[in-house]
């Protein structure tokens, strides 16, 4: 079976989405994963954007969360205030899963999407939080896309943009954040979870052809790999729906 790593990542993320989820998406693969879930395994899930669109129909793949394609046949077109309030709201936030990406991640799932190097003397400047810090602060669980590279899985972040479990099991509570935090990290080699007790990242699965060792070699910090199993490759059905229904023009794939 032929599939790309991007397809694998998208489908692995889509499988994490349930019918009762309201899915917050950012741009790119995160949006595609939400569309894949809706077309493959969670047709009742609700796609929702920080810009204020709730339950977008997404007949065509958007290229940004401000794309007019997300405004078509939604349940309600509001603005940023509406969508972030929905994420912070004590009743709705419990149903929301956020899909995020970042430049760096640490063992507690904290994310950096702001700078590499010193904040005042940056070596590389990235886009900044956007809505990522808000989503990571508010919602009940997040799924994080990362490239499996040593410079991205860091012992210490250069800048903590979006909160994961901060510095341990009671990190969020101490800081005053609501319950929640990262649930999965999906890379081009495998999938990680977070231990219920330590709140540290552990390896949950590795893709066919990849070993846990190879994943560890591509990280600056060490994680538990004892629970890791091989992840099922995309099925022909999954691939067909992804390719034909979600991104037929290969805008992201």
């Amino acid at each position: 079976m032929d599939y790309t790593l991007k397809e694998m990542m998208t489908i692995v993320a889509a499988r994490e989405i349930r019918n009762s989820d309201i899915v917050f998406c950012g741009t790119g693969i995160s949006m595609l994963a939400a569309m894949a879930a809706k077309n493959i395994n969670a047709p009742q899930s609700v796609i929702f954007f920080e810009t204020g669109a709730i339950d977008s129909r997404l007949e065509d793949l958007p290229l940004a969360v401000g794309d007019s394609r997300i405004m078509y046949q939604t349940s309600s077109n509001g603005g940023l205030l509406d969508s972030f309030a929905t994420m912070q709201n004590r009743f709705t936030r419990k149903h929301i899963v956020g899909i995020l990406g970042a430049a760096q991640i640490d063992i507690y799932g904290n994310l950096n999407s702001t700078v590499i190097g010193d904040y005042d003397e940056p070596e590389v400047r990235f886009s900044g939080s956007g809505g990522a810090c808000d989503v990571a602060s508010f919602v009940s669980r997040t799924i994080i896309f990362m490239k499996q590279e040593k410079r991205k899985f860091k012992k210490r972040l250069d800048y903590l943009t979006s909160p994961g479990y901060l510095n341990g099991p009671d990190g969020r509570e101490k800081a005053g954040l609501p319950k929640g935090g990262p649930d999965r990290v999906i890379t081009d080699m495998g999938i990680m979870g977070f231990d219920d007790h330590t709140r540290q990242m552990f390896l949950k699965g590795y893709y066919p052809g990849i070993t846990p060792e190879l994943i560890l070699e591509n990280m600056e910090f060490k994680i538990d790999t004892s629970r890791a199993k091989e992840v099922m490759a995309p099925t022909p059905d999954e691939l067909e729906l992804l390719r034909e229904k979600c991104d037929p023009l290969h805008l992201i794939l």
Binding site: A64, L80, F126, S127, G130
Partner: protein, 330 residues
């Protein structure tokens, strides 16, 4: 704000009258949608300098203002244009070379800051960013803030919940209000007095508009004073906030305007490419912006086919068959 009367003027005159060197400015739109690009290009043409910009994720408009060196300070949540540039190139260069002072917030925080300004309160609370460097690291040092009466002394303030554990919340972050000197927004429909109807998502335009001392509106359709009043449920900004109304068809181009036109992937891709190289970027600035007399002039140089290409489907509000795969400038 100005209460009554006909506020229609030219883009040149609106910018000349209100956007001064050193002015605190916010623009509407989001990433590649409904940025007031005609006004952005006019600001660049008029050579305005030292702007203090407030942005959430305005994307293209902010990157062009920063690239053209109109701004010295920037308070922002996100400098990107989605798939065209996940980090805006001129923004990145300006920050890395320290050509601009920057202060980071999140999208919700920036939106709440505009809302606080619109509501007339000094701050609003949120739970966002507790425990992060957005609270700990300040781009504008405290001395810089104290010297500048137009800035609050603190970036953000953490506050214990004064209602005990009401709502099971122990602590919040307070974000300070923003009241820009000028906000510029581009909307689908406006009337002579400045009533506005935005179609599709409003982003934070309404809050930005109401927070500002001066509101400049550019619009696709300029309507007489009764048209919009026939369906007031759909008007988000009443005229009492408006100072200038300018009729600028394609005023958001090259970003999108829902129900009117899509973004132009050729322009945006070419811009992102040229932005990477200083020489190419300066030639873009010279030839595409500065050498044009007006937005109309810029549009004419692209040709009618380009505008037809991005023309929105009446039903969907965007250009269904627009080729967005690998756009190349011809």
């Amino acid at each position: 704000m100005k209460i009554n009367g006909n506020k229609v003027t030219s883009l040149h005159d609106a910018i000349k009258a209100h956007v001064k060197d050193g002015c605190h400015l916010s623009i509407g739109g989001f990433t590649i949608n409904r940025n007031p690009m005609a006004a952005v290009y006019e600001i660049i043409r008029q050579g305005i300098r030292n702007l203090h910009l407030y942005a959430h994720s305005n994307g293209q408009g902010i990157d062009e203002l920063v690239g053209a060196k109109t701004a010295s300070c920037l308070e922002i949540a996100y400098g990107g244009t989605g798939r065209f540039a996940s980090t805006c190139i001129r923004f990145r260069k300006a920050v890395e070379k320290k050509q601009i002072k920057i202060e980071d917030y999140s999208n919700y925080q920036m939106t709440l800051r505009f809302l606080a300004g619109a509501m007339g309160v000094p701050f609003l609370p949120t739970r966002s960013s507790l425990g992060t460097d957005i609270i700990k690291k300040w781009g504008f040092p405290v001395e810089f803030r104290q010297k500048n009466s137009r800035l609050p002394d603190r970036k953000l303030v953490e506050l214990e919940n004064p209602f005990g554990a009401w709502c099971d919340i122990k602590k919040v972050v307070l974000v300070p209000a923003v009241n820009p000197d000028v906000t510029i927004i581009h909307v689908q429909k406006a009337d002579f007095r400045g009533n506005c109807r935005i179609e599709g998502l409003t982003f934070a335009d309404v809050e930005q508009a109401k927070a500002a001392k001066i509101l400049i509106i550019t619009c696709e359709d300029l309507l007489d004073d009764d048209y919009l009043k026939n369906m007031p449920d759909r008007n988000q900004i009443p005229f009492i906030h408006a100072n200038a109304v300018v009729h600028v068809p394609y005023g958001a181009y090259p970003t999108a305007c829902y129900r009117y036109y899509d973004y132009d992937p050729i322009y945006l891709k070419a811009y992102a490419e040229k932005a990477k190289d200083d020489k190419q970027y300066h030639s873009y600035l010279e030839n595409t912006i500065l050498n044009k007399k007006s937005h109309r002039d810029l549009l004419d140089s692209l040709g009618r086919e380009r505008l037809e290409m991005i023309s929105a489907d009446k039903n969907r509000g965007y250009a269904k068959n627009l080729d967005r795969r690998n756009p190349v400038e011809t």
